[in-house]
Symmetry: C2
Subunit: 92 residues, 2 copies
């Protein structure tokens, strides 16, 4: 899960996730939303993919990216753990 935390620490990558939440997008369509070179976006997409936060599928000459929510669930579980009442000191 370390890769996911790393991937999530960058604002551009979080913005990519927000965009993909609305709908699947090609690499180029994602890049259009940023003031950044395409290779830089490609690099960010690669990190998101390695963290299993997105999936990609080749379609003709485009590559379509989509959210992969399975790791999101893991991360939420990790966080929820901090809100659980301390288990050592049960309320009687």
């Amino acid at each position: 899960m370390n890769e996911a935390f790393k991937a999530l620490s960058d604002p551009s990558r979080r913005k990519i996730l927000q965009l993909l939440k609305k709908k699947d997008l090609s690499a180029g369509e994602i890049a259009d939303q940023f003031n950044m070179s395409k290779p830089s976006i490609s690099h960010h997409l690669n990190l998101l993919k390695q963290a299993n936060l997105v999936d990609s599928e080749k379609k003709g000459q485009q590559i379509i990216y989509s959210l992969n929510t399975s790791v999101f669930e893991d991360v939420i579980t990790w966080f929820m753990d901090f809100l659980k009442k301390d288990e050592g000191e049960e309320i009687k």
Copy 2:
């Protein structure tokens, strides 16, 4: 919330949070759990504090650190958003 994501991207800092989940600890007690110099731990604690993930309180010559869960709630909310069903395309 960017500072929180940044703070959470480091494994040592996440380990500190796990330790503080069990009980409040002094800076020295935290440092004892790591193979790392005290100034380095101090630096990590500072980042966690700036992200509002921990609080600190001076007690004599020690500084006691504790979890601050308010930002955890915000972050969980951010994540939950990705698991919500797409709101544009309602099921009828």
